[in-house]
Amino acid sequence: MTSADRGGSSDGPAPRPHAGAVLASGVVEALGGGATRPDDDAVLTDLVAFTRLLRNAGVPVTPDRTATYLQALREIDLASEVATYWAGRLTLCADPDDIARYDEAFHAWFSSDPREQRMGRAVAPKPRTATIAALSSPERSGTGEDDDEDVPELRVAASGEEVLRDRDIAELTIGEREHLRRMLALLRPDPPRRRARRRRPARRGEPDARRTLRATLRHAGEIPGLERRARRERPRRVVLLLDVSGSMAPYADALLRFAHVLTRRTPQAVETFTLGTRLTRVTRELRQRDPERALRDAAAAIPDWSGGTRLGEVLSAFLDRWGQRGVARRAVVVVFSDGWERGGTELLGEQMARLERLAHAVVWVNPHAGKRGYEPVQGGIAAALPHVDRLLAGHSLATLQELTEVLADA
């Protein structure tokens, strides 16, 4: 596998010396016949250092992935940059979000020519819109969008409007925190249920032919009685969309805590996203048991606390990237927002109609809805209202409790 003449495939770049090739000739021997050249260790160290660079870039590289990577390098022709590139991408990446990071790291590490940016078709998939922040790593939120020529004005608008700062939960007064914690600890929300596909043994229900037969076998061919089965119930998915824009800031902490309480009840059936100038998924952070840690991590993941709102666009990003794929399908979707929409409301109405068609039920929670004299006349909420099953208030313990009852019955 040391021949350099198979360097480029028909659709890759022409064979040319790259920094990796120099490294490669050493690796072949290091990995191959167990040769003991003095710099073998250096070569291996170098490759492992590349995986470390990747890890720093946000790709979750684990030792077993590194081992697989080295195993893959043994199989391919290391003189070919294309093959080296793919061996790493196939073994070290595990998510489309990783690919842009891998591309960047690979070119920084292996390319001898700094102008060399992309090779062949090996470009990362473009995110559908620039409104999506890199999930869970706000410090790298620009990655993968820099070369996205389709939506430059969107990006400029986004970075101009949003306040990319971390929200510190410690800023709350002690009394408020104590109060929130106690009030939320009291909640034991029951998740909505749906009928599952699987059936389970039951006292009443349809006859279960298989279990009847098995019982018959146990009784040497005599039928001891009719076994029955009924459909099981499983928690129905709940999707929480939290508006974290400036106008919702006083409620954001409480709502995230509420999301955490719901998530802890049925971790697999609750998905939480925050809406601001970007869409951020905080489900993973909220699955942690300790509420303070979960909230701290979630706060760190959200790059656009108290920024502007572009509800329509962000909702569209949610539906494109998650909702339509399955997250919103037959789920109970709860939108926590005051419906302040900066731009036109046409897009919001259109996206809410889409959401309505996908979801089992759509609940809109508006903290202002509970206030005296409130009328849903703001542009955003007026456009969304025709597509909402319930409009609820969410500004106090009583109203949040009401929400849990609505959820349980949905």
Partner: protein, 298 residues
């Protein structure tokens, strides 16, 4: 048909796949090559219609191996993926043995009867067991994201061991592990432990040149002009920010529809008539119709 050991590098895999009518780029060829060499499952993710399932079929064709498909769905369990006992037949067998014994007046040997009940002929091999018993074979675990996460854990165990334990029969181990292709549409995140065992391949829509080549190879009777026009139009459709951007399958459908109505070129009339083959949402069709002139401009 090619043995896996004959494929010396990604280029050979690419050529072999090309002979079956599946045009692979360098990434795909590297992935298939490494999956064969390292004996690792290939985990394919990507938009619907980018040829994930077709890849498994093409690999099966290259290896001359049967493609065994396990379609995942919510609530799938081991009995549907691994094996099941054929209870009705076992029961019939039991009755027959009983009847024969009472007719001849001999006593029934309980142990022998029980052993005969768990005979291999009453074992229904489901896809995973079939794949382990067939050498060589390609096992396609389609849309694994639709299955429950408990099923993932179970799948992980089978993929790690390449064997299945049936209490009444013993361990069934694959002589040569099957080539496993898993696909996912990302409706939910598949557990990291499963991904870690696999090679990860993200499939994107093909570029223009490749898509024309795919059209020509799948539909040799299609005129080059029409193929280029269709591929071009589909490419522009993908840039329109649609709810469901058309995949390769839709491109092929569209070309077939155009051919059936006897269109020689893709013009306003023929495109409007056949738009339903490529766009499946009313909103998308409306948006495309407004932009149809620009889409068809050469």
């Amino acid at each position: 048909m090619t043995a896996a050991s004959d494929l010396a590098g990604p280029d050979d895999v690419s050529a072999a796949l090309g002979r079956t009518g599946y045009l692979a780029d360098s990434g795909l060829a590297s992935a298939a090559f490494l999956a064969l060499r390292m004996g690792r499952p290939l985990f394919c993710e990507g938009e619907p219609g980018t040829g994930k399932t077709a890849l498994a079929q093409a690999l099966a064709d290259v290896l001359g191996a049967p493609l065994i498909r396990l379609q995942c769905h919510e609530g799938i369990d081991a009995a549907q993926a691994l094996y099941d006992w054929d209870f009705p037949r076992q029961l019939l067998h039991l009755r027959t043995v009983e009847a024969a014994a009472s007719a001849s007046g001999t006593a029934l040997d309980a142990d022998a009867t029980e052993a005969s009940l768990y005979d291999r002929r009453f074992l229904l091999a489901r896809p995973v067991l079939q794949a382990l018993q067939t050498t060589p074979s390609v096992l396609l675990v389609d849309e694994v994201d639709r299955a429950d996460d408990e099923f993932e854990a179970f799948l992980l165990e089978v993929l790690a061991e390449n064997s299945v334990t049936i209490p009444e029969v013993g361990v069934v181990k694959a002589e040569t592990p099957p080539l496993v292709v898993l696909t996912s549409n990302r409706t939910r995140e598949v557990h990291d432990a499963l991904k870690r065992r696999c090679l990860y391949l993200w499939l994107d829509h093909p570029d223009l040149v490749r898509e024309v080549a795919i059209l020509k190879s799948r539909m040799p009777q299609l005129s080059t002009e029409l193929a280029e026009q269709v591929a071009q139009a589909v490419h522009r459709l993908r840039g329109l920010d649609l709810l469901k951007p058309p995949g390769v399958a839709e491109t092929l459908d569209w070309a077939a529809a155009l051919e059936l109505i006897g269109a020689r070129h893709l013009d306003l009339e023929s495109a409007t008539a056949t738009l339903g083959a490529v766009l499946k949402y009313r909103e998308d069709a409306d948006r495309a119709r407004d932009a149809l002139d620009a889409l068809l401009a050469s």
